[in-house]
Amino acid sequence: MNIRHYAHASFIGLKTNLVRSILTILGIVIGIASIILIVSLGNGAQNLILDQVKGLGTRTIIISAGGDAAGPPNRTQSTKVSLKQRDVDALEQKSNAPHISKVMPLVNGAGTAEVGSNSYRISLFGATDAMSEIYSLVPVEGSFFAEEEVRSSSDVVVIGSEVKNQLYPNEDALGKRIKIEGHNFVIVGVLPSKGSSALINFDKAAIIPYTTAQNYIFGTKYFNNIVVESDSEKTIALSVDDIKNTLRTLHKIEDPTKDDFQVQNQADLSNRLSIITDVLTYFLAAVAAISLLVGGIGIMNIMLVSVTERTREIGLRKAVGATNRNILIQFLLEAVYLTLAGGIVGVLIGTTLSLIASFLIIKVFGFDWTFIFPYSAAIIGVAVSAVVGLVFGLYPARQASKKSPIEALRYE
């Protein structure tokens, strides 16, 4: 008896009880479909987030005030005010950091913008003219403010498309006035609508010179971040070291674990976010995998019923020459077919659901989402379902093979 004959015999066995066979594999189908759906959406979400991070540019390094949140809890409020003008000046010195090409201080916070009686909640950024280049923000109307306006703390603002739509819905906003946190500004640029990028939604943002923001809005001398650009991707690691050394010297920090700043580049951020989404995805997939166990027990249950029902068939097969081994393999293969079919159907259904979900995410939420077929999850899923069939089919198949032919033929 070769594999094809076993395959045929097992197939006939399943076909004879088609409806039951289909119901039996539902558990496996649901389990595999959930795994595919979860992993596909997880990968899609990861891509979405990583694309955002890539919006930063690969040469960008972000220095944040305050120590690493994962570090020892030894810091006070004062650490949030660790980045000042002298840090910017020091980083601009070629002798401190030879590969740094741009240094931009950044202050930010939430605020309210008003035009007449209309008001709108915005994200307010205080930056330099370098903001335009680092975050690829090119106004569709007007232009970004210049270095001169930063130096002179000018009352100029570049607004996001949504801010413009809310406050100047049907008219030109360029050159018009806008009141931000009670201070009057002139709109010099309007940004195109681009959704969220680099984890910031610039559509709802207003960007003003950091000097203006410090002096008239926030009333501080500190920066939330210093954004630095290295002259090439290859020098990022060098620049990160230079930044750390420069700031530590300046802040008189000897123990690196007591840093009052954090330095991150796009690669770091990508890695961190990938780990978070990976852990989430695999955790959910593991939960879904439990249903495979439940499905397997269902298969065992049904196979046992089937073995009892088909006692006569087993007896007949033995009477015409089948060995115990022949019967064992036939019933084991039936179980594996069931679960394998369940696995494949599960992959198909999971893929279909993922496609529908991707479509909805794009249509309803407007995310720049890409559907991802999780090849490894599909292959592992189908393989695992076959193994589930082997494991849970073994006991019923052994029961079948042990039946004595005469008891089997006598069975009514």
Binding site: I12, E313, L316, A319, V320, N324
Partner: protein, 240 residues
């Protein structure tokens, strides 16, 4: 004539808790190659148990069974399966055909467990089906066949491996008289014209009289073992 099977002091006991039931109580007889033997007895006499022993479906508690020179006592499960596959063909009262499986596939079933090369399977099966006159039913399923036709499929299945001996357990028991007659005439033809050895189990005298020899079993013992003087032929009136 050469002896095909020899049984000596065959005993079969069933143990159920403290009760021991002796179904066969020391049976002795030989069957020669080419013989047509009927085993008769009322229900509970042990005749089906005997057939199960003879057909390697069950093993005796004690006693010897020598089949074609092989002492079956010494065989392991796989050898027994091989014997069933190569040496014997069964015809059961309840037909025992696989449901939702065509006549052709049903007849081919024993080949699955044989050494016969696959390219011969279809020809063999078709020949066997032709010999029981069911060529027009090749692709029908058992549910589409009459009782008599089902039993003829079962006979074709029993013949497919070209067995040394055919065991027929009440083959007409579930059939009307016309179908039963047809089945008996096929068995008779297999013996008379093709030289097959047949052991037939029945409780009906008129069926048993198709054989050359009748062994009567009562309470697990051979009560009588005699030649049939007026062998009934299927051309006789089946129901006298």
């Amino acid at each position: 004539m050469a002896t095909l099977l020899q049984i000596q002091d065959l005993v079969k006991e069933y143990v159920d808790g403290d009760t021991i039931t002796r179904a066969l109580d020391g049976i002795n007889f030989n069957v020669n190659k080419g013989e047509f033997v009927a085993i008769m007895g009322p229900s509970g006499s042990g005749k089906s148990t005997l057939l199960h022993m003879l057909g390697f479906l069950d093993s005796p508690t004690s006693g010897q069974y020598i089949f074609d020179g092989i002492n079956t006592h010494e065989l392991v499960e796989e050898d027994v399966a091989k014997l069933r596959s190569r040496k014997v063909g069964f015809v059961f009262q309840a037909f025992n055909l696989l449901a939702k499986t065509s006549v052709l596939e049903n007849v081919k079933l024993p080949l699955l467990y044989s050494d016969i090369p696959e390219h011969e399977w279809n020809d063999r099966a078709k020949k066997a089906i032709d010999s029981v006159g069911l060529t027009h039913r090749l692709y029908h399923e058992p549910s589409e066949l009459s009782g008599g036709e089902k039993q003829r499929v079962a006979i074709a299945r029993a013949l497919i491996n070209d067995p040394e001996i055919i065991f027929a357990d009440e083959p007409t028991g579930n059939l009307d008289s016309t179908s039963g007659k047809k089945v008996m005439s096929i068995l008779e033809d297999l013996h008379d014209n093709k030289g097959h050895t047949i052991i037939l189990i029945t409780h009906e005298t008129h069926t048993a009289e198709h054989a050359e020899r009748i062994i009567r079993i009562l309470d697990g013992k051979v009560e009588k073992d005699e030649k049939v003087l007026n062998k009934r032929s299927s051309t006789d009136n089946f129901l006298k």
